[in-house]
Symmetry: C2
Subunit: 339 residues, 2 copies
C-alpha cells in the first residue's frame, strides 16, 4: 500500500485537485460539487486510505492544528498531569500537542517559544519561568493566541489560568492555627515566581490577621536546584534549633517530601513534635506516614480551561477578551497536622 496524494485521486477520477480538495474538506456542497462526484471522491479516498500531508496543508493554511505546551519540567507529576488534561481537551477540539520543558530557564523558554512559532503552532500554553516578560509581551503585541498557566505576569494583561496561591496558603496556615500551632515555620523556594510570593503573603496574612507576628527566623527559602541539601540544615535549624517551631508550611510537594525525609532521618515525630502541611501533593501523600495534609491544585480544571480559552482565542482572533481565571485549591485534611 503506497502513499497516495491529492493529485493521484484527481487523476484516477479524472477530476481536478480543486474538486477533490473541496470535497475532502467537507466543502463540496457549498461549492456545488455533485453528490455523485462527492461520493466517488470520498469512496476512493477511503479505500486508498488517503491522508493529507499536514506539512503541505499547514503551509498552505498557515496553521497546523497543533498547540504548543511549554512547562518547566514534564517529569514533575504536577505538569505531567496538566499535560494529560490538556492533551485530552485539545484532542476534543481536534488539536495535537507539542510539548517542551524550559527547565526554569528563561533563555530556553524564549528559544522554545520561537521554535514553536516556526513550527506554526496555532497557539501556546505556557507555564512560564516568569523571567521572560519581553517575549510574552511580543506574543501579546503580535496578537498571537496564548494562555499562561500556573504562573502569570502580574504586570501584563493576558489570558491565564492559575490557582489562588494566596488563599490556599492562608487557608493552610489557618488550619495549623486552628490546630493550636503557634510557632509556624515556612519553607519555600528562593524564586521570583509570583506564585511563591503569594504563598508567603498568604502565610503572613493568616498570621497577622489572627494576631500573631511574622517571625523572619521562621521563614526559610531554599535554592531551587539545591533544596535537597539545604533542607537538612533548614529543618534542623527550625525544628531543633533555638526556634523550635511546632509546624511547617511547605510551599511545594517536593519540598514537603524532602522535608519529611529529613524529619524522619532526625527522628522527629510528625505531628506530635511538629506538624507539616503542603501546598500541592504527590500521588502518594495519603500513604506516607503520617499522611500529609495538603492543598490540592485542580490540575484537571487548569488544563481544561486553558485549552478552552486558547481554542476560543484561536477561532476568533478578533474578539480580544482576556480570560483571567483563578482557581481554588482544596485542603485535604490528613494526619500530619494533628487530629
Amino acid at each position: 500500500m503506497k502513499k497516495i496524494f491529492l493529485k493521484d485521486i484527481a487523476q484516477a477520477l479524472n477530476l481536478s485537485k480543486t474538486a477533490v480538495s473541496l470535497v475532502l474538506n467537507n466543502r463540496g456542497d457549498e461549492n456545488k460539487i455533485s453528490k455523485d462526484t462527492q461520493k466517488r471522491i470520498l469512496d476512493f479516498a477511503k479505500k486508498n486510505n488517503y491522508r493529507p500531508n499536514q506539512m503541505a496543508r499547514g503551509l498552505s493554511l498557515g496553521k497546523s492544528e497543533t498547540i504548543g505546551l511549554i512547562v518547566p519540567n514534564i517529569s514533575d507529576i504536577f505538569y505531567a498531569r496538566i499535560a494529560h488534561f490538556i492533551e485530552i481537551k485539545a484532542k476534543e477540539f481536534g488539536y495535537n500537542v507539542v510539548f517542551s520543558s524550559s527547565n526554569e530557564n528563561a533563555a530556553i523558554e524564549k528559544e522554545l517559544i520561537y521554535s514553536m512559532l516556526n513550527r506554526q503552532v496555532d497557539g501556546l500554553i505556557i507555564a512560564s519561568t516568569q523571567k521572560n516578560e519581553e517575549d510574552i509581551l511580543k506574543l501579546k503585541e503580535a496578537n498571537f493566541p496564548f494562555v499562561l498557566i500556573d504562573r502569570y505576569y502580574p504586570d501584563i494583561k493576558t489570558n491565564y489560568v492559575i490557582v489562588d496561591n494566596f488563599g490556599g496558603t492562608k487557608n493552610m496556615t489557618e488550619h495549623l492555627l486552628g490546630n493550636r500551632r503557634r510557632k509556624i515555620g515556612f519553607i519555600s523556594i528562593k524564586s521570583q515566581l509570583d506564585a511563591l510570593l503569594q504563598r508567603r503573603l498568604g502565610y503572613e496574612q493568616a498570621l497577622t490577621e489572627n494576631g500573631f507576628k511574622v517571625e523572619p527566623n521562621y521563614i526559610n527559602e531554599l535554592d531551587p536546584f539545591d533544596y535537597q541539601d539545604e533542607m537538612k540544615g533548614a529543618i534542623k535549624d527550625m525544628v531543633q534549633g533555638s526556634h523550635k517551631v511546632d509546624a511547617v508550611v511547605f510551599t511545594t510537594h517536593y519540598l514537603a517530601a524532602s522535608g519529611l525525609r529529613e524529619l524522619k532521618l532526625l527522628g522527629i515525630e510528625v505531628p506530635s513534635e511538629v506538624a507539616i502541611i503542603s501546598f500541592d501533593e504527590l500521588g502518594a501523600f495519603d500513604l506516607v506516614e503520617p499522611p500529609i495534609t495538603a492543598s490540592k491544585q485542580p490540575v484537571d480544571a487548569m488544563g481544561n480551561e486553558a485549552v478552552e480559552i486558547l481554542v476560543n482565542e484561536i477561532d476568533k482572533k478578533n474578539l480580544k477578551i482576556e480570560n483571567e481565571r483563578v482557581l481554588q485549591t482544596k485542603l485535604l485534611i490528613r494526619k500530619s497536622c494533628g487530629v
Copy 2:
C-alpha cells in the same frame, strides 16, 4: 518587528533565494558562495531575526526534525519521566518531540501513529498497547524508523528498549524468599502485555527454582480500569482469607500503592503480617510507611537509548541493524519486606 522570509533577505541583499538558503544551511562553502556574501547573509538574517518556516522546510525536505512519542498515559509518572529523558536527548540531536497518549487503546494508538506520520515526524518512539501488531508491522515494512519502549512485540523483529521483567520479578520474589516468606501472593493486572506475563513467569520461576509450588490461589490479576475497587477484595481474600499469604508481589507502582492503601484500611501490619514489594516505584515510596522495597526501572537509560537508536535509524535508513536492548532493574531494599 515583522516576520521576515527568505525572499526578503534575497531581495534586500540583491541575491537569489538559492544563495541565501544555501548559506543559512551551512552549505555556503561547498557551494562556493564567497565569504563576503556569506557574512552579509548571516549578518542580515541575524539582525532581522530570521527564522525559517518549518512547515515549508518540512514540506520541501520531507522531514520535520520531530520525533513522535506515543505512550499509554503521559500522566503516569513512569511515562512522564521517560518523556522527560527522551525530550532532553532528542534536543541534543536537534529534534523536537510530539507526544500523545493512547490510553491503552489499540484503535487510538493506530490513529496516533498515522496522525503522526501525516505530520511528517521523522521517527516514532512507541510504548505500545501491544494490541497493534498490524500497524507495527506496516511501519516495519515501510522501513519507517521507530523504536518500541517498555513494551515490545515478541513475534516481530524491531528495535526496542525494554527492561528485564522476568529477571526483575524473579529477583523480587527471591528477596522475599530470602526473608523467610513462604506464602507469596502475586497481584497484577489482567492484560496481554508481555511485560506482565514475564513478571508472572519470573515470580513463578523463582518459586519453582527454590523448590516451592506455584499456588494459583495466590495469584490475582485485576481489571486494569477497575483495579482500585477490586483491590479491596483481592487483599482481603489473600491476606485475611483462608490463604493467609505472608507476602505480596505487586507488578506495578500503582498496584503497590493501591494495595498498601487497602492494607492500611484493614489495619494489617506491613511487614510483620505481610511483606510487600513493588515492580517499579513512585517518587515517594521511601516516605511511605513502611518504605516500600521496589525494583526500580532505569527510565533515564530507556529514554536515552531509545532516542539514540532512533536517531541512528533516521540518519542511515539503509543499514538495518535491529537494536534489542533489555535493561536491568535495580532492587531498592527498604522496609516493607522485613529487616
